[in-house]
Subunit: 132 residues, 2 copies
Amino acid sequence: MKTLNYSRQREAIYNYLMKTKEHPTAEAIFQGVQKEFPKISLGTIYRNLTLLEETGQIQKIPSNDSKDHFDANIMEHPHFVCGQCGAVIDLDMDNLEFLKTLANQGFDGKVEKSQLVFFGKCGSCNKNNNNS
Amino acid sequence: MKTLNYSRQREAIYNYLMKTKEHPTAEAIFQGVQKEFPKISLGTIYRNLTLLEETGQIQKIPSNDSKDHFDANIMEHPHFVCGQCGAVIDLDMDNLEFLKTLANQGFDGKVEKSQLVFFGKCGSCNKNNNNS
DNA sequence: TAATAAATTAGTAACTATTATCAATTTATC
DNA sequence: GATAAATTGATAATAGTTACTAATTTATTA
């Protein structure tokens, strides 16, 4: 029923997400895309992030700052969240598929997706604390 | 500087969390504790949940409904979130400590906590869908 | 037990992230 | 180019959570 039309703004949002290694919030994406589209509205950012997620082009990843973070990498991969500066960092851990298999054992529902998040102090925050 | 005094309300909140197997939101806890303290305020719920978390007596667990969920079980354990009904369910998976060890390898920060969340359909939602 | 200080409460206002609404603009189709 | 559907910018509304304050409760000391 709902067809997707092309939109420059949506393309810019997706490209912005593709280029960054960070896992920006809607607000950060807003500020980034504003350089190209000075009149873009925050509502447009949210609307398109939802659309892009629904069509499986990006994923929403949770952190602990009560803001949604977004990632153009749709492969399942673990994240690290720094409890001090709030940075969200990709971790490189292969072969975590077995976790889903393990979770499905003895569970009467159906596990489809897994999300592995680590918390602690990122490299620079950890270093700064030791230097104080 | 800040000492914790005893409070009946805080005790009731903690007891409520201890008794339930669900992973209620602040609102659900509010409604539960209201039976014992009809005049309790939602602010009191939030204030004490934060205090209890800060003192390590409970933990906050994320789901995907943009509401915080709480758990009196402070052991690290994986959760399952039903994408249909929103239920948060404990999963039984032993020996997940190695995940933290694994994550720390080749990472320059310090991993302290891990959080493993699975998404999918819970038993009853899965069954109901097949019966339609 | 009474007096005092600090912590906590109920009630409410304020804040923040996100969603909904809507007239105007853009995109796709013919 | 004309038409219909999708999208936008702007703004209002919503929802979860936090902040504020005077009144109450708890802990301490005599």
